[in-house]
Amino acid sequence: MKLKKMMNAAVASRYFSFFITAFLFLVLYGVGMMNFHGFTRPQVFFNLFIDNATLIIVTVGITFTLLIGGIDLSVGAVVALACMILAYLLEYTAVPVAAAVLLVLVFGIAFGALQGYIITKFDMQPFIITLAGMFFCRGMTAVISRDTISITNPFYVSIASARISVFGLGFVSIGAVMALLVLLIAAVVLGFTRFGRTIYAIGGSESSAALMGLPVFRTKVLVYTINGFCAALGGVAYSWIMLSGYTLHALGMEMDAIASSVIGGTLLTGGVAFLPGTLFGVLIQGVILTFITFQGTLSAWWTKIVIGALLCVFIVMQAIITERKSKLSSKSSLENRL
């Protein structure tokens, strides 16, 4: 009886998903260590951050939109477009590196703000506008160039290949450091600022937040703006890994980002998210990818299927937990079911 009560308390805890995710990550990593000798090297762990710097940044952005009960399907395409703009500016124009990066970030902010404005002002479903945004950005990437543009700018390449040593155990890239910084700032903003609490309030109930006098319109537009900025910044980090612009870059990254966020404990209905959890969500995907690389015989498309399956499991788990919770709190169950 006591055990059951403890179980119930654990399931109802806000951090339940986080614990499961962290546990799953440790188990996966442990299995990897047992099966492959190379897994035990610390550098493999650091590589998770180097390879997934973009995904971490993009996931942070998309978590903001998921928190207010929205969604953004355009992030992958924005990453691709950011890479393409950077590659084009650095290869075919005399624009300095700093200006090119700045321009890309401004584009991301403007695009995010525009999407947010249309969604909020005209009361549109976010997925339809951001789906259009996704097609728009992919198309624009092809308009700039249908072929791959390689980035050969020596200064840019040196930034991309710079490595920072971590206690002599291994090294990380600038992108990875940037990703962790973004995550930290976002976690602080969400947890400890008025703006962050407003986001949670809107996610919990938009009409209540409006009745409380919170600036709903401004916050929602800002959330999409932040997301656009994160996607563009993710694009910059992605260009450090790929050193090229191509129309099919980051294809399906929106799905990976949503999956990471959900695996990390974000509720798709809004109002619940825990950023350290989303980091583990990204890392789990990274471990699975590393598995497939170490295995060597599995094909790349297995990644998509595994991530799809994983997302599915976590969403189903969420659905069941939410249903259980609503039963426990003896609300009108009909309201929650619909």
Binding site: F122, M124, Q125, I128, L131, I258, K304, G308, I315, A319
Partner: protein, 349 residues
């Protein structure tokens, strides 16, 4: 007054867009309207070509119309098209001597069945587990292409079996491509069901207010389930037509961007993306319009991967036109300009 009735008709916008596109083509493309008879008795011409190419989109938008009417969305249709194409091509097999490994009827049945299965999966997630439609179908949208690649082992399977090309080509002795008849049959079937049963009313009720429908005794989850299964069925049939058109299964490119086209067709047809009232006829005209737009753009030298820019802008504009808030804003702006009383705008909204 009469003019107002015409412009407010649901078919006005899609028909106007189609007419404008056709007019543009007639002026700028030589021999756009000419239809000739080939030596072996087939009709040939640009108009027939547009109909031929739009048939799979028409079928997809049929399924999508119902999904959107329940205020849901199915963004997995493109991937389901790829899966269905992969199934039919793998079963018939890519043997160079033109012999089918399995009977074609079996392959067709399997492809449609897998489409329905995908639809049932989506329906299960949406109707039973109450997951938001966009996220539920996003799973299949991304994983679906992986599954299709798994089926074809990452290869493009080219089918040399002759009868397979008849699905999107002409059966000897017929004047029109078969897929036009398939699309027409499905549209008629849906129209018949809408006329004779109250399923359409149920779908509409769920889209307008699911809670109220439940209290009114409608099984909301059953309606949702059927709607997504039907969308999967439509995607399965589309997959057949798409793969037959190129006589191959390309897991990466089959049905690429088709979800956008289908949504665009439905929106153009006058169905509100927020659900509720829907127009089958509008969606069909919308689908033909989209295909005409695509063909026109290709004729103007715009590449297939650049085309989404124009379609994305079209979707946003269409959504803005449909949006009640936008209409209210325009109305109040008009009233202000004419110095009329602003109360009128509120009434309209």
């Amino acid at each position: 007054m009469n003019w107002k009735r015409i412009t407010s008709s649901s078919l006005f916008l899609p028909l106007l867009a189609l007419f404008a596109l056709l007019l543009f083509n007639v002026i700028f493309v030589d021999g756009f309207l000419s239809i000739q008879m080939t030596d072996d008795g087939r009709l040939y011409g640009r108009l027939i070509d547009i109909l031929n190419r739009s048939s799979s989109l028409i079928i997809l938008s049929l399924g999508m119309t119902f999904v959107i009417a329940t205020s849901g969305i199915d963004i997995s249709v493109g991937a389901v098209v790829a899966i269905s194409a992969a199934v039919v091509c793998t079963l018939i097999g890519g043997r160079g001597d033109g012999v089918a490994e399995h009977p074609m009827a079996l392959a067709i049945l399997a492809a449609v069945a897998i489409g329905v299965l995908c639809g049932i999966w989506n329906g299960f997630l949406v109707a039973r587990l109450k997951i938001q439609a966009v996220v539920a179908t996003l799973i299949l949208m991304t994983a679906g292409r992986g599954i299709a690649q798994l089926l074809t082992a990452g290869q493009i399977i080219t089918v040399y079996y002759k009868p397979f090309s008849y699905i999107s080509g002409t059966i000897p002795g017929n004047v029109l491509p078969t897929n036009i008849f398939i699309a027409a049959a499905m549209v008629l079937l849906v129209a018949f069901i809408m006329k004779k049963t109250s399923i359409g009313l149920f779908v509409q009720a769920v889209g307008i207010n699911a809670t109220a429908s439940k209290y009114a005794g409608i099984s909301v989850s059953l309606v949702l389930f059927v709607v997504y299964a039907f969308s999967g069925f439509c995607a399965g049939v589309s997959g057949l037509i798409e793969s037959s058109l190129i006589r191959a299964a390309d897991a990466n490119n089959a049905g690429l961007n088709m979800e956008m086209d289908a949504i665009l067709a439905v929106a153009l047809g006058g169905t509100l993306l927020s659900g509720g009232k829907f127009y089958i006829g509008g969606s069909v005209i919308g689908a033909i319009t989209i295909q005409t737009l695509t063909t026109t753009m290709y004729a103007l030298g715009i590449a297939s991967d650049q085309l989404p820019v124009i379609k994305a802008i079209a979707v946003v504009i269409l959504c803005l036109i449909q949006s009640k808030k936008c209409q209210a804003l325009v109305a109040s702006w008009k009233d202000n300009r004419h110095g009329g009383n602003p109360g009128k705008a509120v009434e309209k909204a």
